[in-house]
Symmetry: C2
Subunit: 189 residues, 2 copies
Amino acid sequence: MIESLRQHIAHRLGREPENIQQVLSHFEEIATKRGDHLLQAGDVCHYVYFVVEGCLQVYVMDKNGNESTREFYIEDQWVTDIFGFQHQSPSTEFIKCAEPSKLLRIHFNSFQTLSQQVPQFAAIYKQILEVSYTNTVYRVNTLMALDALDRIKWLMEHKPKIMSRLSSKLIASYLGISPETMTRLKAKL
Amino acid sequence: MIESLRQHIAHRLGREPENIQQVLSHFEEIATKRGDHLLQAGDVCHYVYFVVEGCLQVYVMDKNGNESTREFYIEDQWVTDIFGFQHQSPSTEFIKCAEPSKLLRIHFNSFQTLSQQVPQFAAIYKQILEVSYTNTVYRVNTLMALDALDRIKWLMEHKPKIMSRLSSKLIASYLGISPETMTRLKAKL
DNA sequence: TTTGCGCATTGATCTAGATCAAGACTTTAC
DNA sequence: GTAAAGTCTTGATCTAGATCAATGCGCAAA
């Protein structure tokens, strides 16, 4: 399990750093069932998660109690509530397992230590930030500029794994449409 | 004009770094009129801009030719099309001056040089990335989970400067609603 | 000072997508 | 294996917000 993180890091840096063992030693393995929550809105997020296997859903709850999914994270991706984690303040988001998952997690304290002491770790964090920011910018633009049908097409083209692995209901909550509309629009593809 | 960037950097780092002059020397001052474009979709974005005075609008065009504004940037903020800039690839976004503005810009080559050679510059860049990412995450969540009226209230509370400085039309394009709806909802506040 | 263009407002109408409801199907739990 | 719960689909209806159209109002250019 930790092996998959080792490879991820080596791949990101283009080589395996000499202090990789020090980095890996701060991570803890956990296994979850579908539906398990890793974070509830209002709680402080103490961890960054690395998905070894499975899928995590990050969402908020609207005033009618509907889930709006900001993002899904699958194998080889990093997940946290970035603001709440950095400031160790209550989160506005939920993190839930959309599939039974195998995860590695690193605690805030370890994260701080590694960021300061291991330049390679800081470098990876910067890379993750850039990719995450870039993705989120696209997310805003597709939400604003595309209608429901084009958002479905966008997802099929850009995130085919998400499209095929998850339930229509979850995908609808990611696309900002109701499950019924999802059904009807899929017929038009 | 460059003085404002000097202060911004000193403030971000908590002190004025000894090599500040080297950093500042890579920036070029430009002044713009309202409506000037700094980037057109399809072009490669060669610069990162620092807003000394004024306001920049970053937007995309939907298939009906409507502008969807991803973000407005005012004094003391950094602007670029992050993905296109980093990869020096054609942009999907436009950057336009929403007000006559005074800007400092740094070219991609200089940016690369400073990132590699000046740790303080890299540190500031990481800070900007974190803040930008955090803001964009909130943007996705407000777009998805709030209705039009609540998005207006959110903007008034969290970005009062934007709300009071810019035209209703521009604000509507940021909130993802039509100018007519904007007029009608403002009456309900 | 005039001309004209972009913006704001208001009213009338339209529509994409939501909501409500009901039946069939598929997982999950014991 | 059966009960219970969640999911998918289809139909009927509703609604938030878009679009179209007309008017008045700044404000910028000549």
